[in-house]
């Protein structure tokens, strides 16, 4: 990607970060500036291969490889005419042959193999199948219209849902405010016990919420009805879960970690316990920790204990390597 340069003015993406490479039907690239310069009249020849081009046909380069761009261009054009559907064939083999033929035509055109012959073939096909082409085009347009309608419907549904939720929320808020005001009013002017009033109101509130809760559930059930996207993909978590459950391979697990408590090997006389450290007065002979040290979590008992333990550890040590 870094090496993208305009073949005419040699500008690279490094020198001009906003460089836009354009491509036309012949598959040769030009940067935006060069296109503007060369095709000021609206049409001209490609500086690489000399094919006459229209400025309107320039579009942004999507793929690095220019042959891919060319392929895409040609495919678009060819498929406009070769638009038969699978249903129109008697067998799958025939349909596959038909698809293969399309691919051969596209390949030939992009790589300039038997160019004239291929073009003739296309003309011939067009003449022969004019009626079905037009029919399929109409059909295709209809399908697109149908899809658009579905998408539009879905969007409308979303909007409706959102609006109804918003309305509901506003309603709940309003009711709460009214309740609160009523409660305050009651507390202000009534002679009853304040606790009783509070209890009465909270009970009332619970009841109302219950009713609302039921309503919400009903609404939810309604909204659940649609479980397909417009494209026919199913909505729903349960199904997808089942699917993943099948696909996921079982992970082989090694033996579980077993914690073994470390054993203290003293190899010497025992030393005082932490409690005895202070009781027996060991700490009197250790330097009191400074404030800084205490902030780090150190106390003089640690230093004292460490010295004592090291004095005891290994006192009974007898080396067994007496093999001489």
């Amino acid at each position: 990607m870094d090496e993208q340069t305009c073949p005419r003015c040699k500008t690279s993406r490094y020198r001009n970060p906003s460089l836009k490479l354009m491509v036309n039907v012949c598959g040769h690239t030009l940067c935006e500036n060069c296109v503007e310069l060369l095709f000021i009249k609206g049409s001209g020849n490609c500086p690489e291969c000399g094919v006459s081009l229209k400025r309107n046909n320039f579009r942004l380069q999507l793929f690095e490889d220019s042959t891919v761009e060319k392929d895409v261009d040609i495919r678009k054009k060819i498929l406009k005419d070769y638009n038969k559907k699978e249903e129109e064939f008697f067998s799958l083999k025939e349909y596959n042959d038909y698809l293969e033929e399309i691919e051969t035509i596209i390949y030939n055109l992009t790589h300039n193999v038997d160019y004239i012959e291929t073009m003739k073939k296309i003309e011939h096909y067009k003449k022969e199948n004019r009626e079905s082409i037009i029919k399929n085009k109409m059909k295709y347009n209809k399908e697109i219209l149908e899809l658009d309608r579905l998408i539009e419907e879905e969007r409308q549904h979303e909007i409706d849902k959102r609006e109804s939720i918003e309305k509901q929320e506003i309603e709940i808020k309003r009711r709460k405010i009214i309740e609160k005001e009523a409660l305050i009013e009651e507390l202000m002017f009534s002679d009853n016990d304040a606790k009783e009033i509070l209890n009465y109101f909270s009970e009332n509130k619970n009841k109302k919420e219950n009713i609302l809760g039921i309503n919400k559930q009903l609404k939810k059930d309604n909204s659940k009805k649609i479980s397909y996207f417009s494209t026919g993909v199913r909505i729903g978590i349960g199904d997808s879960n089942q699917m993943y459950g099948k696909v996921l391979p079982k992970i082989e697990e090694g033996p579980l970690f077993v914690y073994v408590e470390p054993q203290l090997i003293v190899d010497g006389p025992s030393f005082p316990t932490w409690d005895n450290l202070e009781k027996m007065g060991y700490l009197r002979y250790t330097k009191q920790e400074s404030i800084d040290e205490n902030a780090g979590g150190f106390v003089s008992a640690y230093a004292c204990m460490r010295a004592l333990q090291e004095a005891m550890c290994g006192l009974y040590n007898i080396s067994k390597k007496c093999d001489i």
């Binding site: 203290l264 006389p269 002979y285 204990m305 460490r306 090291e310 006192l315 007898i318 067994k320 001489i324």
Partner: protein, 346 residues
């Protein structure tokens, strides 16, 4: 709190008995140590035996023998102690102890003729500084060395990894200093000895001299500490026998170990009597003179062979790094010669 303390118990207490020091570097007897040294000496002679073939007279005196090697190491141990004492900033004691351990361990399995002790000793001290978390930079460190600083830096840094390798990367050393503190605290609490702190000067002197012997390769740091404390007590006309037999060991069935412990302490104390004699200057001069002839040229930074090898290595490095500029041969030659000039006469 209890569980925290229990884990702390393990943290502190499990140190020496499970250490590499106990498992690999505490030996059974002095004869075992001597055997190891002899083996190292023999191994060197075996490798270089063809060198003697050209010499007609006195073949037996060409190489150093094991005893001479030991004398030389001992001589340099004293040098190391003096070097550490004069070191600025002042060096904590455990650093010195650790350095001694390293030097002793290194020459158990290596011959003086392979690696000259004057080079290894500063490397040992430098590594000990690092391991004991005594933070000095290499610049600060070599400022304490007399002579060519650049050359000293080179020697230290070149030998550091080698030293670690020969120590099997077992770098944690348990020194007797903390056990001494522990014993003194215990004495203050559990004995009727008045003012145990007055024992300190003799204890320190004892430990200092102990490091010049093989005791640290034979006994655990706690045993060394106890021996030092007992020695100091007897020097100060105090008797701690009751403390040892009744308080220290008596309370928890430790009496079965008493005999061994007394024996260990006695042996440690006899070390000092028989072993601390400094080798004479003439002896050392004679040994060093012969060492210059018989030492391994490949590890002698003053030799032509070493220079050549270094040059080759540098050249290879240059190639490997694909450095575009060529180091001027004249300057690098000078540089190496400068480095190779005399090592600090510490």
């Amino acid at each position: 709190m209890l569980s925290v303390n229990q884990s702390l118990n393990l943290l502190f207490g499990s140190m020496f008995p499970t250490s590499t020091q106990k498992n690999y570097w505490i030996f059974g007897s002095e004869s075992e140590l001597n055997k190891l040294r002899e083996n190292a000496n023999k191994a060197f002679i075996k490798r270089h035996i063809n060198r003697v073939q050209g010499i007609k007279d006195d073949k037996s005196n060409y190489f150093l023998n094991s005893n001479e090697e030991r004398l030389l190491v001992k001589f340099y141990e004293i040098k190391m102690r003096d070097f550490c004492r004069r070191f600025t900033p002042q060096m904590p004691k455990p650093v010195i102890g650790t350095a001694f351990h390293y030097l002793k361990r290194f020459y158990l399995n290596n011959s003086v003729m392979d690696y000259h002790p004057k080079e290894m000793l500063i490397t040992c001290v430098y590594l000990a500084c690092k391991v004991e978390e005594f933070n000095v930079s290499i610049k600060q460190f070599v400022a304490n060395v007399k002579g060519d600083l650049e050359k000293a830096t080179d020697i230290i840094l070149n030998n550091e990894l080698l030293l670690m390798q020969h120590l099997n990367y077992q770098l944690t050393i348990h020194n007797p200093y903390r056990p001494i503190e522990g014993l003194l605290i215990d004495l203050k609490v559990r004995s009727n000895l008045s003012d145990p702190d007055r024992l300190r000067p003799t204890i320190e002197d004892f430990i200092d001299r102990l490091f010049l012997t093989d005791a640290s390769l034979l006994y655990s740091p706690a045993q060394l500490a106890l021996a030092a404390v007992l020695h100091s007590a007897s020097k100060n006309q105090e008797n701690l026998d009751a403390y040892v037999t009744e308080t220290l060991l008596g309370k928890n069935n430790g009496l079965q170990y008493l005999k061994d412990l007394i024996e260990a302490v006695r042996k440690i104390r006899t070390f000092l009597v028989k072993n601390v004699e400094t080798p004479s200057r003439d002896q050392i001069k004679y040994i060093e003179k012969r060492l210059e002839i018989c030492r391994n040229e490949e590890t002698n930074p003053d030799s032509e062979v070493f220079k050549q090898k270094l040059q080759e290595m540098l050249f290879r490095d240059d190639k490997a790094d694909d450095i575009s500029y060529q180091a001027e041969p004249t300057t690098s030659q000078n540089g190496i010669e400068k480095i190779m000039q005399e090592l600090p006469s510490i």
